[in-house]
């Protein structure tokens, strides 16, 4: 179980990170959400994996570690707030800047940009 | 646990399992969206109902009390599943998804997607392409 679990965490991290590296806001937001899943699973597993051990007194013989669960709950809520913010922010950016590129403008030709923008500073 | 209970539960579980499987199989192997739509909305719901019933009886058999609350899940699904199917059908008609050629009354979709009665003659022309 542990091995399968960490592989899942690894794959989620991989997907999340790859999407975070994209150039448009939507995939980045999706990537952040995905990364959030990976993070939550990772943090959750710091209390180790338990089957049939929900930390409700009297409902199991051996309880899972409740602390990481509580931490993950907090992390989920905060993550939700943050994702919500970044979603609306990317809509706002698209509205104000006219592009959904993360830099607010279409990717420029790098070599040109250096000369044009900074040359006469 | 009582043998009687065990048999009932097992049978219910197996039936449920079969229906769930049929639903998903139908989803996977039927040929167009409209026919696929039939399988999961009904078979899966029924299958799930069967499993829920098994679960309820199981709790009664092991704990000694009836957990009617699982029935609520069925109630919920019975209320919602048709809506989902209905609205997905709307989506499919709106998107003019392909249907198998032998479907009868295919042209009805043209009217239906515009929410026109079958008696209507206007409003079809501008977008009269058959799906």
């Amino acid at each position: 179980m542990e091995l399968v679990y960490v592989i899942c965490v690894g794959v989620l991290t991989f997907s999340g990170i790859f999407l975070c590296l994209r150039g448009r806001t939507f995939p980045v937001v999706v990537g952040l959400t995905m990364l959030g899943y990976a993070v939550n699973m990772f943090l959750f597993s710091s209390g180790r994996l338990h089957l049939n051990g929900a930390a409700v007194l009297g409902k199991a013989e051996q309880y899972a570690d409740p602390l990481p669960q509580a931490l993950v709950l907090t992390a989920i809520v905060i993550g939700f707030a943050m994702i919500a913010f970044v979603v609306i922010l990317s809509m706002r950016a698209r509205a104000d800047l006219g592009s959904d590129f993360v830099d607010g403008r279409e990717p420029p030709d790098t070599s040109k940009m250096i000369d044009k923008k900074r040359g006469q500073a | 646990m009582n043998d009687m209970f065990e048999i009932v539960i097992s049978v219910l579980l197996v039936i449920g399992g079969i229906f769930i499987f049929v639903g998903s199989l139908g989803l996977a192997r039927l040929q167009d969206f409209y026919t696929r739509l039939h399988a999961p909305t009904k078979a899966t719901t029924v299958g799930l109902g069967s499993v829920l019933l098994a679960s309820m009886i199981y709790t009664y058999a092991t704990e000694g009390y009836i957990t009617v609350n699982v029935l609520l899940i069925t109630l919920f699904l019975v209320i919602t599943a048709p809506v989902v199917a209905h609205i997905l059908a709307k989506v499919a008609m709106h998107h003019q998804v392909k249907m198998i050629p032998r479907t009868r009354n295919r042209e009805m979709v043209k009217l239906a997607r515009k929410q026109l009665p079958p008696t209507a003659t206007t409003g079809v022309e501008e977008d009269g392409r058959l799906p």
Binding site: L32, L35, V39, F42, S46, L67, I78, A81, V86, G104 | -
Partner: protein, 508 residues
């Protein structure tokens, strides 16, 4: 009330900020109510902070068990001279920028005052908590408040920089959680002092995990403090933010620095056995690279606020350098420098804002344009601030730089510290002289200044309030340095924290 002091810097802005969302204070037309309330809140916070500072410098550090759950189980707030000092600094800065914002920035968009309170709350919380996960929560509070303040009265530039800032910090928060998972997975606790206690007796695997956790935390704190290579967000963000917000942001980077000092002195301190000072070897090159890049940026940036942002990066590099020295003396020096650089850069952002407002479309860019309307006042403010930031006497920057320089002991340390600080100082001087001569001396005579806005009363008050601190920091240098020295020596005395928390219980 005195026993509740450590929680007050969190509760007061929280409750105050929330009250400002309610009918007596909310709504466009009730801005005056909000202002009066915000002012009262800021003053009372400053008084509370000073009271706390006095309490913990005269007596022992204060431990506050939230929910009455004792360490290591509950969340513990810990007010030692370091925390109290930084809370005071934050409250002081908060008061100044609130006054400045009365000039009109607070009416340019919704929720300005509540958000400022929440931002202050988050920063205070980060300074006060002794719990690693709670630190994460306060980080998020201060971050979300900063996101919202950054886009205050939205402008293209703000939105654009906010996208970068928010996304980078979201990734940073994820890394923080990875770090927390790793740390809990290895140590089974969240209390910083408890971690310090447990870290020395780990088995090989857990030691490896604690090492990795520490490295991850460095990324988190580094991103917050804008150390290289995580500094990219800063110049643009600070340049885009509304001026009072940028001024308040000046302390946000210092939260990262504070955490570096706290975490790596307490958890990975001398008592940590093999893990003692495990990240210090990374810090040296990072610090020097940070100073270098900040300096290059300050020299090349074509606007005053962009330059100021890069100077913030330089100050971060300097603080990291002081951290890398790892002696209580160096830590004390760093804290003095931290206070100075926070206030000096904050004022610089305000001054840049006032300058920008009077220069029409040129704003604060280094181009020839109309003359400033309040040339003299702005000139004096700019001059003092520039001298302070560049580290020229007699202002605080000089003293800050001096103490850091003096903290280098070995020849190698001296070579690195002297070279990087002095060269960056020189470049800063050059940059400021170019900026100053362009802004204050070159003007096109054809342009009319009559439509430039004058400096409002509140801008004047807010700026002078913060500016006044700069000479005071050097005049009262002796007492402030003795305070930072006390803060540093208590920080380095890890055993003391463990004892105050009552964690020592016979463990080795």
């Amino acid at each position: 009330m005195i026993e509740h002091l450590p929680i007050l810097p969190i509760i007061v802005p929280m409750v105050g900020g929330l009250f400002m969302l309610l009918p007596p204070f909310s709504g466009v037309e009730r801005y005056n109510n909000r202002r009066v309330f915000a002012f009262i809140l800021a003053v009372s916070q400053l008084l509370i902070a000073l009271w706390m500072l006095q309490t913990v410098t005269q007596g022992p550090a204060m431990m506050y068990a939230v929910g009455n759950w004792q360490p290591p189980f509950g969340i513990i707030l810990f007010a030692d001279p370091l925390s109290a000092m930084l809370v005071t600094l934050n409250s002081f800065l908060g008061l100044g920028i609130i006054l400045y914002a009365f000039a009109g920035e607070d009416r340019a968009g919704r929720y300005f005052h509540p958000l400022i309170q929440f931002q202050i709350l988050g920063i205070n919380g980060a300074f006060l908590t002794n719990d690693l996960f709670n630190l994460f929560v306060f980080f998020e509070v201060l971050l979300i408040a900063s996101y919202s303040l950054l886009i205050h009265a939205g402008q293209k530039q703000r939105i654009e920089s906010a996208v970068h800032y928010v996304i980078l910090n979201l990734i940073g928060s994820s890394i923080f959680l990875f770090a927390l998972g790793t740390m809990y997975g290895a140590l089974g606790t969240l209390n910083i002092a408890d971690m310090a206690l447990k870290i020395s007796s780990l088995n090989e695997s857990n030691r490896l995990l604690a090492h990795i956790g520490g490295a991850m935390l460095l990324v988190v704190f580094g991103l917050k403090s804008a150390m290289l290579p995580l500094q990219f967000w800063l110049p643009k963000t600070y340049a885009a933010a509304p001026a009072p917000v940028a001024a308040l942001f000046a302390i946000m980077t210092k939260v990262g620095i504070y955490c570096i000092f706290r975490v790596y002195t307490v958890i990975y301190g001398e008592q940590a056995g093999e893990l003692a000072d495990v990240i210090v070897p990374y810090i040296w090159p990072i610090a020097i690279a940070t100073i270098t890049v900040g300096t290059i940026g300050a020299l090349s940036n074509p606007s005053l606020r962009g330059m100021a942002g890069n100077l913030v990066i330089v100050s971060i590099g300097t603080l990291l350098l002081a951290f890398a020295l790892r002696t209580p003396e160096a830590t004390a020096a760093a804290f003095y420098y931290l206070i100075h650089s926070t206030l000096a850069t904050a004022v610089l952002f305000l001054v840049a804002d006032m300058i920008g407002l009077q220069r029409g479309k040129a704003v604060d860019r280094f181009v020839v344009t109309r003359k400033l309307r309040n040339q003299v006042f702005l000139g004096i403010c700019f001059f003092i601030t520039a001298m302070a930031v560049a580290g020229l006497p007699p202002f605080s920057g000089f003293l800050g730089k001096l103490v850091v320089l003096q903290a280098a002991v070995t020849n190698n340390e001296k070579a690195l510290v002297y070279a990087s600080l002095l060269i960056s100082s020189l470049v800063t001087i050059v940059a400021f002289s170019r900026a100053g001569t362009t802004i204050f001396m070159r003007h096109s005579p054809t342009k009319d200044v009559s439509d430039s806005p004058g400096i409002s009363r509140w801008q004047f008050v807010g700026t002078l309030f913060l500016l006044g601190a700069i000479p005071m920091l050097s005049l009262a240098g002796a007492s402030i340095l003795s305070l930072t020295e006390q803060a540093a020596s208590q920080l380095h005395n890890v055993q003391n924290i463990i004892e105050i928390m009552g964690l020592a219980r016979g463990e080795p």
